[in-house]
Symmetry: C2
Subunit: 337 residues, 2 copies
């Protein structure tokens, strides 16, 4: 089986200068993939050099969605954007998945409009992988939905568990709900009711996970409202950057500390590899009738290639069928309840 | 002027073995403070040894609020708990502030019941100091209130700005609201309306701050719902712990890395000092008619002494008068609007 990934080459802070080399490297290191490079042909072709791999093709798209463009405008006015053409390839079965580092809001809006939602799912959710002390975890939603109802959080749980069970071949991944720990006020009403729904869902629901529990790996899937998830993720990123800055400052304080930094370099490099956020690049937009993966806008070629890998994995392991099946199982349960 | 701090010596994971030495050290290093050690006299006295400082006194309290005790029960049944007696000292003017490392929910409930709210403030908020790349920032609420109305977020802004202006002698500290950045969905409705109220409040409101902006020091005061604030804070703590674990693992991988760790020790220790959360211990419960500071339950003597310092600072700089004055200024504005 060959997996075809459509790539919005124009998206992201760096555009084709990052996406095209990442795509070429990705094809070289994966025998079972094809890529369709979507975007301004005159920008993409020169970056291909003398590559003549039958697994690499180019699809011209005349427009580009700007990173700060209002999603509604991108949806209405740019029918031939690289983003939309890439998503269309998925819709028409010419690609198994698409990846974009572009404007998140526009990607959500266009994906939803073009691909439509899976039956039984009301809203798409952004699901990312985060490192934990013991491995990694999946967290959703990370910003697509604010003001979620309990039923949406239940759907996030089902989608997240389906994703993990498909790509990691786990029968019943653990699912937790992000909450706060104060005894008398454990969470707001939405979270309390969502926890009850998750408890009765047949998922392997382990209850509340606090903010620090996410990074302790307390659950394989952590469900939350997009507002809370986005704030927690960005706060974590901010803290990690701050700690990295402080570490760099201490090691560059004077000649002696710089010498020590040289000696400690191999250890520090291993540490950096361990916490390198680029390894976790590529968030899945779940709930759509097609596989769409969002790369960080600032991704470099290494990070972008990881997002491509996630898209191919999702297609290879049949995530969509898994979600559809799991939601169908859920419906009668819900109705009989 | 002498500041008297009432200390709930029984609270926290370690009780008097931490709180009493911290209090003694605090008195030794501050000429203008007195402490009242509240709790089981038979547990506290032995820890005083031969200290006969007139600035250290003991107030017996026969009960202890357990760390996992439901706040409503602690409020109803334990009238002679160390926590309640310490708060009563503030109410009756025998102390200028009180500090507890005990059960947060119980501390909130008892403080609110005993001290009452300041006029114009509906709910107390937990305000903590967090480190930033450039210094530090104040964030509230961190868990006292879930499901806030926009008016509550406005009150948090006023209280936070008053606190910072008092203790840091700043005329108009910058105030931001924690939000997410996706263009089309910028935040939920409560946050949007709160931002409008803050814009019209006369505060030095700078608009949205994203999760990572907190640690970049984009605002001196960051306002948020207690649910979001608590999750973001705990997630940050979890990530910091994870990074510390990875760093330790890399440096203890083998004999060579252990040797490198020895060489790098002075630099690593400076880094540790920089990100040491104990330096930021002591969150203010704002909005009450009295100064109450919550220490982390797991605080050691160094951390607990920092919480004592915050309580004394708040009393010394007249934070309560500042908040009261600022809220009074606000009322006519609000009514005329």
């Amino acid at each position: 089986m060959t997996i075809t990934v459509a790539i919005d080459c124009m998206g992201g802070d760096h555009g084709p200068s990052v996406t095209v080399p990442a795509a070429l490297g990705f094809v070289r290191s994966h025998d079972d993939v094809r890529v369709v490079l979507v975007g301004l042909e005159e920008r993409i072709r020169p970056l291909l050099g003398n590559v003549a791999d039958p697994r690499v093709s180019v699809r011209h798209a005349s427009e580009v969605v700007a990173m700060d463009e209002p999603p509604a405008l991108a949806l209405r006015n740019k029918k031939d954007s690289s983003m939309r053409v890439a998503i269309n390839l998925v819709k028409h079965g010419e690609a198994d998945a698409c990846v974009s580092a572009g404007n998140t809001g526009a990607l959500m809006a266009i994906s939803r409009f073009v691909l439509k939602m899976l039956p039984g799912i009301d809203r798409p959710a952004i699901c990312a992988i985060l490192p934990t002390t013991t491995g990694h975890t999946h967290v959703l939603d990370l910003g697509a939905n604010v003001d979620c109802a309990p039923e949406h959080l239940l759907q996030f749980g089902i989608m997240g568990a389906s994703l993990v069970s498909a790509i990691e071949h786990k029968d019943r991944p653990t699912v937790g709900i992000l909450n706060i720990g104060e005894e008398d006020i454990k969470g707001n009403d939405v979270v309390k009711r969502a926890a009850e729904l998750l408890k009765d869902s047949g998922l392997n629901f382990i209850g509340n996970v606090e903010g620090d529990g996410v990074y302790k790996g307390e659950a394989e899937v952590v469900v939350c409202d997009g507002f809370v998830g986005n704030v927690a993720l960005k706060a974590s990123e901010g803290l990690a950057q701050m700690m990295a800055t402080f570490l760099r400052q201490e090691f560059s304080r004077n000649l002696l500390t710089k010498l020590i930094a040289l000696i400690a370099m191999p250890v520090l490099n291993n540490f950096k590899k361990h916490v390198d956020h680029r390894r976790y690049n590529g968030a899945s937009l779940l709930g759509l009738k097609g596989i769409v993966v969002k790369s960080h806008g600032s991704a470099d070629a290494f990070a972008f290639a990881n997002a491509l890998g996630r898209a191919a994995d999702a297609a290879r392991t049949g995530v969509l069928a898994r979600i559809t099946e799991r939601v169908a199982q859920q419906q009668p349960l819900q109705e009989s309840a």
